[in-house]
C-alpha cells in the first residue's frame, strides 16, 4: 500500500503459483525508500486522461474503486469526471450519495432533452468532482452509437468552457458484453480490479487480453480485498502471486475492510472518512500513483508481530 522506489532483480517466471504462497524477501530488499505522501502529486501524461476501471468478474469492487479514486483525485486537487457506464446496473451514484440528484443521463443528452452540463452532477463535498450516468436503470442504451457517444462525451468535456477535466474515469460494467465494449472505447489507460482468487484472476487475464487487443497498453491492476492474515496462513494468494499470474504493474493493494460496506451503505466514500479507514488510505495511495503514472515497487506481504523491547512493559 505504500510506494517504494527500489532496485530489484528479476526472478524466474512461474505462471502457476506453487503450493507455498510465501516468498522470502531476505535477498531482495529495497535499497531506497521514498514514501510518496504529504506532497501534491505531479500530473503525468496528457489531459484529460481517460481511465477505464474494469475487471471482468462482477463484485470485485470496480464501482467502489471508481468512487474512491475519483474523490481522491478531487481531494488531491485535480478535476475529475466519473462516468457510470454500467448501463443496466448503475450504482456509482449510490456509492457517492448522489442518487437523488441524477435527473438527466447521457441518453437524455443524446436525445436532446438536456445539455451535457445539465447532466453532469457536481459533488457538493468536492466541487471538482462530477458524476455522469449513462442511462437510467430502466431505460435501454441504443448501441448503434454507444461507443461513439462516449467518444463524443470525452470530446465535449475537453472543449467545455470551464476547461477540460484532468481525469475522466469510466466505471465499466462486468463481463465482456456490449457494455464493456462501449465503456472501453474512449479509454487510453485501464485499471484492472481483481481479488486474489482464481475466478477473478482468470476473468482479469481475459479482460486484459481484450484491452490489449483493443489497443489499450497502459494497464495497471489493483488487488482488492487482500487479507494478510489469510496470506500468512497460506489460504490466500499473495499480491506477488497475483502479479506473477497476470504480469501487470501494481497500482494499489486494498486490504479487506469492514468500513467499505459501511461507507457504501452511507453513500459516503471511504476516502472522506474521518478518521480514515485503512482501505481508504490505500485507495488514496493508488490515486496518487495514478496521477504520477507510477506503480508499486514493494508490497506488504504479511503481518509480523510487533517487536517489543526489553523495557517495553515500562513503555519503552
Amino acid at each position: 500500500m505504500i510506494s517504494l522506489q527500489s532496485i530489484t532483480k528479476p526472478c524466474p517466471l512461474h505462471f502457476r503459483p506453487k503450493k507455498s504462497f510465501k516468498r522470502t524477501p531476505k535477498t531482495l530488499t529495497p535499497d531506497r525508500c521514498l514514501l510518496q505522501y504529504n506532497r501534491k502529486p505531479q500530473l503525468a501524461g496528457e489531459t484529460p486522461r481517460v481511465v477505464v476501471i474494469t475487471s471482468g468478474k462482477g463484485g470485485v469492487g470496480k464501482t467502489t474503486t471508481t468512487a474512491n479514486i475519483g474523490l481522491s483525485l478531487a481531494r488531491l486537487g485535480f478535476s475529475a469526471v466519473a462516468i457510470d457506464a454500467d448501463v443496466g446496473l448503475r450504482n456509482l451514484d449510490l456509492l457517492l450519495g448522489l442518487e437523488n440528484r441524477v435527473n438527466y443521463t447521457v441518453v437524455e443528452v443524446l436525445n436532446g432533452d438536456c445539455r451535457l452540463d445539465q447532466a453532469l452532477v457536481r459533488d457538493k463535498r468536492w466541487s471538482n468532482f462530477e458524476l455522469l450516468c449513462i442511462s437510467k436503470p430502466r431505460s435501454k442504451l441504443p448501441l448503434g452509437f454507444g461507443g461513439k457517444a462516449l467518444i463524443w462525451l470525452v470530446e465535449a468535456l475537453k472543449n467545455r468552457e470551464e476547461g477540460a477535466p484532468d481525469f475522466i474515469i469510466i466505471d465499466c460494467p462486468a463481463g465482456i458484453d456490449a457494455g464493456f465494449i462501449t465503456a472501453i472505447t474512449p479509454a487510453n489507460e485501464a485499471v484492472l480490479v481483481t481479488t486474489p482468487d482464481i475466478t477473478s484472476l482468470r476473468d482479469a487475464d481475459r479482460v486484459t487480453g481484450l484491452l490489449e487487443c483493443d489497443g489499450i497498453r497502459d494497464i495497471k491492476m489493483i488487488v482488492n480485498r487482500v487479507r494478510t492474515d489469510m496470506i500468512k496462513g497460506e489460504d490466500m494468494m499473495s499480491v506477488l502471486d497475483v502479479q506473477e499470474m497476470l504480469g501487470l504493474p501494481l497500482l494499489g493493494v486494498i486490504p479487506e475492510d469492514s468500513e467499505v460496506i459501511r461507507s457504501t451503505n452511507r453513500g459516503y466514500p471511504l476516502v472522506l472518512n474521518k478518521p480514515p479507514a485503512l482501505a481508504g488510505l490505500a485507495f488514496e495511495q493508488a490515486a496518487w500513483r495514478l496521477v504520477e503514472q507510477d506503480s508499486m515497487k514493494a508490497v506488504m506481504v504479511e503481518e509480523e508481530p510487533k517487536k517489543r523491547g526489553f523495557f517495553s512493559f515500562f513503555g519503552g
Partner: protein
C-alpha cells in the same frame, strides 16, 4: 498520639505484669491464635509496656486489679471472660505488632512497598495494553487515540494541506526497509519482481490466447449482415436484451450535435416547443376564421393550461361570492362530479 497508644495498650500490657497466673494461661492461647508473633516482638512489646505504664497515670492500675480479681472470683464465667480477654488481647496486641515492624524494619517495609507498587503498575499496564490491543487491534480509532494519526487533517470541509513536512504519522518504515508499520501493525515488505521482460512475455501470451476484434456493428438477432461488414466484427444483441437496444429513434449527427451543445435550449425541448407553438398558432388562426369549428382533440391538448386557469378563476369567483364557505369547501359543481373540471371543458367546447 502517644497517650492514645498507651491507653489502648494498657489492658493487654498489664496482664503479664500484674497477674502471673493469668499470664501463664493466656499467653500460650494468644500464641496459638497468632503464630506469627515472635519472641523478639514479645520482648519488644514488654519493653514498650513498661514504658507505657510508666508514662501513664496510676489511676487505672487499681481498676485493672479489681477487674482481674473479679475474674478470679467468678469461676463460672471464666470461659466467657477468657474469650473476652483473648479478644481484648488480640485487639490490643495488633497495634503493638505494627508498631514493632515500623520500628525495627521500617526501611525494609518501604522497599517492599515499592516493589509491590512496581509490580502492580506492570500488571495493570500489561492488562490495559492487552485489553486495548484485543479490543481494537491496530484500528484507526486506536491510532487516533494513541496520537499516531492526526485525524483532524481529514474531513469534508478541510482539504489536505501539502505544506506539511514529509512526515506521515500513519506509516513508519524500518531502517532496513524490510518492514513497514502501518496502522499499528507491522508488515513485512517484499519487492515487486515484475520486470519489463516479464510484462512483454505476458502480453505475447495473451495476444496468442485471445484473438479479438472490436465489434464495429451491433445487430439484433435475426437481422441480416450488411454486405460490407466483416462478420467477425458483428456483435449480436438479443431482441429482449434488458439494457441494450440496437434501434434508436435519433440520427447520429443530431446526437453528436446534442452532445456538443454548450448553450441554449436543448434540441428536443426547442423542437417540441416550436411544434407546440406552430400548432397553437394554427389553432388560433382557425379559431379566428371559424370559431365554431374546432377540433375537439386538438383543443383538449392545447387548452389544458387554459382550463386550469379557468378553473382557478371559477374557484376565485366561488370564494368571492361565498366567503363564509372557506377554502376547504369545494364548489358545488365539483362535489357530485368525480372528474372534477370536466363540465367546464364541455362548456368551453360547446358554448
Amino acid at each position: 498520639m502517644a497517650s492514645i497508644w498507651t491507653v489502648r495498650f494498657h489492658a493487654a500490657a498489664l496482664l503479664p505484669v500484674r497477674s502471673l497466673s493469668d499470664e501463664v494461661q493466656l499467653r500460650p492461647e494468644l500464641r496459638m491464635v497468632s503464630d506469627c508473633m515472635s519472641w523478639n516482638r514479645r520482648v519488644a512489646c514488654r519493653k514498650f509496656v513498661v514504658k507505657a505504664v510508666e508514662s501513664d497515670d496510676d489511676r487505672r492500675l487499681p481498676n485493672d486489679v479489681v477487674v482481674i480479681g473479679k475474674s478470679d472470683e467468678d469461676n463460672a464465667g471464666k470461659s466467657q471472660q477468657n474469650v473476652a480477654t483473648k479478644l481484648q488481647e488480640s485487639i490490643g496486641s495488633l497495634p503493638v505488632f505494627v508498631f514493632s515492624i515500623r520500628k525495627l524494619s521500617g526501611m525494609n517495609f518501604t522497599i517492599g512497598l515499592c516493589i509491590v507498587a512496581t509490580m502492580l503498575v506492570v500488571v495493570v499496564r500489561g492488562y490495559t495494553t492487552r485489553k486495548s490491543s484485543y479490543s481494537s487491534p491496530g484500528s484507526v480509532a486506536d491510532l487516533v487515540r494513541r496520537g499516531q494519526l492526526r485525524s483532524d487533517r481529514r474531513g469534508i470541509s478541510t482539504p489536505l494541506k501539502y505544506e506539511d513536512p514529509f512526515n506521515n504519522p500513519m506509516i513508519k518504515v524500518s531502517k532496513s526497509n524490510s518492514t513497514v508499520e502501518m496502522a499499528g501493525k507491522v508488515y513485512r515488505l517484499a519487492p515487486v519482481t515484475l520486470t519489463d521482460e516479464l510484462q512483454t512475455i505476458h502480453q505475447k501470451r495473451r495476444s496468442r490466447a485471445y484473438q479479438w476484434k472490436r465489434p464495429t456493428i451491433f445487430l439484433k438477432e435475426g437481422e441480416s449482415i450488411p454486405p460490407d461488414v466483416d462478420p467477425d466484427t458483428v456483435r449480436w444483441i438479443p431482441a429482449n436484451h434488458p439494457f441494450a437496444t440496437t434501434s434508436s429513434d435519433i440520427d447520429e449527427d443530431l446526437a453528436q450535435n446534442n452532445v456538443y451543445q454548450k448553450h441554449g435550449v436543448p434540441f428536443r425541448i426547442q423542437a417540441e416547443h416550436e411544434a407546440l407553438q406552430r400548432k397553437l398558432e394554427a389553432l388560433q388562426n382557425e379559431q379566428k376564421l371559424s370559431k365554431l369549428v374546432i377540433d375537439p382533440a386538438a383543443a383538449r391538448d392545447f387548452e389544458r393550461p387554459l382550463k386550469s386557469h379557468m378553473k382557478s378563476e371559477n374557484q376565485v369567483e366561488h370564494n368571492t361570492s361565498n366567503p363564509k364557505s372557506g377554502s376547504n369547501t369545494p364548489p358545488s359543481s365539483h362535489i357530485g362530479n368525480p372528474f372534477g373540471n370536466k363540465p367546464s371543458s364541455e362548456e368551453m367546447q360547446n358554448p
